[in-house]
């Protein structure tokens, strides 16, 4: 493959430039430094492989916007090919026939090589050489290998990267890397799951445990049931032990009582009854006898204590008088009281009326019946005189006043004197007045008649009452005396007093009525004149109003005359009155001399004083009567009292006042009566008791006979024997019953199944209790064990339940599975990288094994030639050291850094030629060298020249250089790159 023509539209400093290459295979592009050699080199690479946009921008011309160009290539099989590139992306491949082909087709032509590979093999520059020089010993061999393999350091970098990445993922003995971490995490989880699983595995075991426990439980229950039964048995045995013991005892006793087993108890009740009866009778007889003795004793006592008959007679006599004396005493008290009362009454009366008179005076005083009227007339007269005198004086004053008034009026009316007509009218009025005064007299007459009638009535009543009162008094006095009842005398006295009092009252009433009748007769004759005169005045006033005044005047004159005449009459009357007054005074003094106590009393009250005195005299009489009666009673009482005292003295009893003694007497009499009564009773009791005793003895005899008969029938000689036998028989019966009862009890207590067994067993007292206790202990143990088993079972079941409901194990397992999956992922990722690394390493190894030796051999030929046989052997790098070369003559080995710069370059170029030769055998692509021989001297340059010429036989060689001599020595086409 040859490059025929290059046309640059714009690339770096090159713009619109065309280079045509001749048929020569060795083309030298000669130019100064900075003449664009390297740019041109890059352009060719750009044409073949394209370029990244970034790189394109770097080569974009400063002066033109146009980047790109085209290249014509001559290919041995495809012919002429045109490549045109504009910028980084526009590209066109045109084949020999002018058809546009795709990139793949073109790549095929380039042996599917990329720019990097191409450069590694077919192109190198002095920069590569410089790089080699900077490399350290250890790196050189690696770099050479890398260059040999891919033409760049990419493999190296990738290897590093993969290693780093793998380190991050996993280290066989690390803990930080991701997979290691994951592993430890999973290990932990797996451990947990393993433990959980182990627990779960115990499930079967747990279930078996439960079965075992259940079985144990059932067995234990059975054991408990058996023990319980045994215990029950023992308990019953213990319970029935006393019964059984008693049975034994009863049986023994019954044995001893067999003799009375047939003893009859038919008449038992009868005999018992009779026995009791006899006993009762005996007891009753005893008690009766003692009662009798007591009664007799008592009777004797009473006979001793009671009074003698004479004394009794005296006592009776005294007590018979007691009622009378008591009455007397009562009367005595009443009279004393009355007497005191009368005396006080009199004293009070005298004091009240303030009469200077004593009780003694009163006894002497005698008041004649006329005195009363005399004293009344005196008073009346004095009153009349006084009244008339007053009236006389009043009249006189009135007349005087009237006279002056009339005189005054007369003077007044004198001037206005009127006619006579009015006087006549006044006369008429006087007439009228006279008629009226006549009517009053009729009325007076009627009143007098009525009073007279009333007086007569009163008198009749008085008479009747007195008669009846006297009759009653006489009757009671008579009966009182006849029946020796003193109170009837009193009653007759009271009746007499009552009659007396009534008569007095009646007389007073009659007196009053008479006075009233007399009082009616003098009917105020003087008042008539006053009334007539006032009316007359009135009439005159009316006349004055109606008639002329002069008529009045006449009247006034008359009046005045009348008044004067009246005054004269009045004077006469006054004289008469004075006369009367004197006479009265004389009379009064006379009376006062006769009755001195009147001196201090106004005449006005004399009549009243008379009445009072009369009453006082009456009271004095009554008092005197009381006194008389009182004296008589006292005498009687004293006489009785003396009799009693005498009896007391006779009895030797202490004397006291009469009442007490009487009470004592009564007590004694009562006591005596009591004794009498008791005595009679006792006598009766004694008689009854004696009768009863006889009856009882009779009854006892009957019972005894009957009993003896019955005892004989029962075959008992005596009552004692019978009773003993009877007791034994009863005991026998009782025991027999008890035996039956016990048997029944046993029957009830014992369950049927054990009846036989337990009844017949011997009585061994201590064992039952002991057995029972032992069994109870055992039972408690069993129960406890049962509880334990039960709780174990519950626990176990709970554990099983927990295990069954424990679902987290499953979850853990699944999580672990997922973690494993994740681990697998990580491991796979690791595996891929690891494999990639291994592939790379393997590729390197393959290279070493296959290509390196070939490359070295070829490089050796070149090296020998270029160094003019100075060095003839190249040793490929090993693990210990890198490239080594051997001196041909001395056979000395040198390491790369021991070589001169020129020799190093020669070595590198030799290696590159060798790589080109070895790797490019099939391709025949052009070979580019850019100022690769800077450090070569002329001699070495010539040698290179030869090599290049030989190289050019097989492929196009394009050499960029600034050295003219090298270009000329190359002996090929030289193109000058002018600036």
């Amino acid at each position: 493959m040859k490059i025929k023509e290059i046309t640059i539209y714009g690339f770096g400093r090159w713009i619109d430039q065309t280079f045509s290459f001749s048929n020569s295979n060795l083309i030298t592009l000669l130019g100064e430094n900075e003449s664009g050699k390297t740019t041109l080199h890059q352009f060719i690479l750009y044409m073949l492989f394209g370029m990244t946009k970034k790189k394109c921008d770097f080569y974009r011309p400063k002066t033109s916007s146009k980047l790109g160009g085209r290249m014509i290539i001559d290919h041995p099989s495809e012919g002429t090919i045109l490549i045109e590139r504009l910028d980084s992306s526009q590209v066109q491949y045109v084949d020999n026939e002018g058809a546009v082909r795709d990139e793949a087709w073109f790549r095929q032509l380039l042996g599917n090589m990329n720019a990097q590979t191409f450069q590694s093999i077919y192109s190198f520059s002095n920069q590569d050489l410089a790089l080699l020089q900077d490399m350290k010993e250890s790196d050189i061999s690696e770099l050479l290998l890398s260059v040999g393999l891919t033409g760049s350091a990419a493999i190296y970098k990738v290897e590093k990267k993969l290693q780093t990445e793998l380190q991050k993922l996993f280290k066989p003995s690390g803990s930080k890397p991701i997979i290691n971490e994951k592993l430890s995490e999973i290990s932990e989880k797996a451990k947990q799951v393993g433990e959980s699983k182990q627990l779960e595995k115990s499930y079967k075991e747990q279930v078996e445990k439960i079965h075992a426990l259940e079985k144990k439980y059932v067995l234990k229950k059975e054991q408990i049931a058996q023990t319980n039964e045994q215990l029950e048995k023992e308990k019953i045995m213990e319970k029935i032990l006393p019964i059984r013991k008693e049975m034994l005892r009863v049986a023994e006793e019954l044995q001893g009582l067999t003799d009375v087993s047939h003893f009859s108890l038919d008449h038992q009740e009868q005999i018992n009854m009779i026995h009791n009866e006899i006993n009762n009778i005996n007891r009753e007889l005893d008690s009766n006898q003692s009662t009798l003795d007591i009664y007799i004793e008592k009777k004797r006592d009473i006979e001793d204590t009671s009074l003698r008959d004479k004394e009794k007679e005296q006592l009776r006599h005294l007590l018979n008088q007691k009622a009378e004396i008591t009455l007397m005493q009562e009367r005595q008290k009443t009279l004393e009281q009355d007497y005191r009362y009368k005396t006080r009454e009199m004293t009070e009366m005298i004091q009240e009326k303030q009469i200077h008179i004593t009780a003694e005076d009163l006894e002497q005083l005698e008041l004649p019946f006329y005195l009363e009227k005399e004293w009344g007339a005196l008073r009346k007269e004095r009153e009349n005189i006084k009244e008339e005198t007053d009236r006389n004086i009043q009249e006189r004053e009135q007349l005087l006043q009237n006279k002056s008034e009339v005189q005054e009026e007369l003077k007044k009316f004198e001037k206005e004197r009127l006619g006579e007509v009015h006087i006549e009218e006044l006369r008429q009025r006087v007439d009228n007045y006279k008629q009226i005064s006549h009517q009053d007299k009729g009325q007076q007459k009627y009143m007098t008649q009525m009073f007279t009638q009333m007086i007569q009535e009163k008198k009749k009543q008085e008479r009747f009452t007195i008669i009846i009162g006297v009759i009653i008094a006489l009757a009671s006095a008579f009966f009182g005396f006849a029946g020796s009842r003193p109170w009837l005398f009193l009653f007759s006295l009271v009746s007499i007093a009552g009659v007396y009092y009534f008569r007095r009252k009646q007389l007073r009433d009659i007196e009053n009525l008479k006075q009233q009748r007399e009082g009616v007769q003098p009917s105020h004759p003087v008042d008539e004149m006053d009334v007539t005169e006032s009316e007359y005045q009135e009439a005159k006033a009316i006349l004055e109003e109606q008639q002329a005044i002069h008529r009045k005047l006449d009247t006034l004159k008359d009046t005045l005359k009348q008044i004067i005449s009246k005054m004269e009459a009045n004077e006469v009357v006054r004289f008469d009155l004075t006369e009367k007054q004197n006479k009265l005074e004389e009379n009064i003094i006379h009376q006062q001399n006769q009755f001195p106590f009147l001196q201090s009393i106004d005449v006005l009250y004399w009549q009243d004083t008379y009445h009072l005195l009369q009453k006082l005299i009456q009271l004095t009489n009554e008092k005197r009567n009381y006194k008389k009666e009182l004296d008589r009673i006292n005498e009687r009482i004293d006489q009785f009292s003396n009799q009693v005292k005498a009896w007391f003295e006779q009895r030797g009893l202490a004397k006291a006042n009469l009442e007490e003694m009487l009470l004592t007497l009564e007590d004694i009499q009562q006591q005596e009566q009591q004794y009498q009564h008791e005595f009679q009773q006792l006598t009766q009791f004694i008689k009854d008791a004696e009768n009863k005793q006889l009856a009882l003895k009779q009854k006892r005899r009957q019972y005894t006979e009957e009993r003896d008969k019955l005892l004989k029938a029962a075959g008992a000689k005596s009552e004692e024997i019978y009773f003993e036998k009877q007791a034994r028989k009863e005991r026998y019966n009782k025991l027999y019953e008890r035996q039956e009862e016990l048997r029944e009890q046993l029957h009830i207590v014992l369950p049927n199944k054990w009846q036989q067994e337990l009844t017949e067993e011997l009585i061994e007292e201590g064992d039952y209790y002991k057995n029972k206790k032992e069994l109870e202990l055992a039972l408690a143990d069993y129960e406890e064990e049962l509880d334990q088993v039960r709780s174990q079972l519950a626990e176990q079941k709970l554990r099983l339940d927990q295990l069954e409901s424990e679902e987290s194990i499953s979850l853990q397992m699944h999580q672990l599975a997922m973690e494993k999956e994740e681990l697998e992922d990580l491991v796979r990722n690791w595996a891929v990288q690891k494999t990639a690394l291994q592939m790379l390493e393997y590729a390197k190894k393959q290279y070493k094994d296959k290509h390196l030796s070939l490359v070295i051999e070829t490089a050796q030929i070149y090296f020998k030639e270029i160094t003019a046989n100075q060095y003839d052997t190249i040793y490929s790098p090993t693990d210990q050291h890198g490239f080594q070369v051997e001196n041909k003559e001395k056979k000395q080995r040198f390491r790369v850094e021991e070589l001169s710069q020129g020799t190093k370059d020669q070595l590198y170029i030799s290696l590159r030629f060798a790589i080109n030769e070895v790797m490019a055998k099939t391709s025949g692509l052009p070979f580019f060298m850019d100022d690769a021989f800077v450090h070569f001297d002329m001699k070495r340059t010539e040698k290179i020249q030869q090599v290049l010429q030989r190289l050019a036989k097989n492929q196009q060689v394009i050499l960029f250089t600034c050295r003219k001599e090298l270009a000329q020595a190359a002996n090929g086409e030289i193109i000058h790159l002018s600036t």
């Binding site: 493999i155 990267k161 079967k204 397992m813 891929v832 291994q838």
Partner: protein, 405 residues
Amino acid sequence: MVDNAVTFIHAADLHLDSLFKGLRHVPANIFKEIQESTFTALNHLIDAAIENQVDFILLAGDLYDHESQSLKAQIRLRRAFERLEEQNIAVFLSHGNHDFMKGDSFDVEYPDNVHIFPGETVTCIPFYKNGEKAAAIYGFSYENRAVYENKAVEYEPVEEDFPFHIAMLHGSVATNTEHDSYAPFQIKDLLKKQMDYWALGHIHKRQQLHTNPPIIYPGNTQGRHRKETGEKGCYLIKLDRHEINQIFLPLQAIRYEEVVLDIRSCLTPSQAEKRIMSQLPRYSVPSLLYLKIRAKENDGFKPDEALMGELIELINESLAEGFPWQYIYHCQLNLEEESTLTEDAFLKSILEEADESFIQEGLKEIYHHRTARKFLTALTDEQEQAIKEDAYQLLNVLLREERAE
């Protein structure tokens, strides 16, 4: 014998509480649901039995895994059986290769309505309905981890007068190479036996081998990894004198599904997100999705594992809130690249003719590590090959990146 029909449910391979594969970094709530899913399916099974008032349930092996040694599995199973007991529904149960009898370390006791085939010899357990013979049920249980004999030949209907004869068999057709060939049989062997129904177990994929008499694998009741996709459940069977009714009842709590998506035309990550969201299928139950995404690099959007990982995380966040939820548990990215760019010429030439045993040697470092090996399963050839491919690709990418600097 007026009504001599029997109704029953046929299920197998419940694999209660067995572990799920391929799940990683699942959010806690979803994880809980997944973990419970086999039990949820069991509950659905019991609900279905009660709802349909079946006479009995046939469980043809692999009810749980001895591998996971879960007590929970057996306890839950017992509770489920207790529910059936309350409803007077019988259970006929045979042990399979995963729950073989001798491997049981718990011995949980099941209620009386559960009839277990006692050993590896085929036996008959009669079923009485209302005191009358209703069906004869045949079967056997795995005593050990495996049964290699052809058990089909041992099935012989009893002479007695049962209206129906039903056989339970946990095993696979002799030609089947996908599973371990346990108790291998030929369909023609089964047909010879004059059974009215063959209730098979062991194969997790639902399939009907024959129609009359029906020979049915009901499949497992709940998918547990990416290969057990779609609806999972049991068969409701009604046998009567004249006809056979069979209905498939889905029981799964969560569906496993595989989804292939194409986002090659998407130019930005957000476009890709929308495209993925819109292309996801919807199901009536929660689903776990395995995504296979075809993608292509372009200027604005360079999808790679890391970017897609983030994208899926975002999508999962919104899916988790949906009802029913969905969760993408794995996303496989198939990136379309230009082949010339993918391979490094030198590597290719060298590795093409390389002996690859060195790879295994390198991986020993971890697979033989004393801790790690306990939790890692040995790589299969395919896995190893896949790792190699991935490594090669990685290497190329890395080298390309380095050289592009």
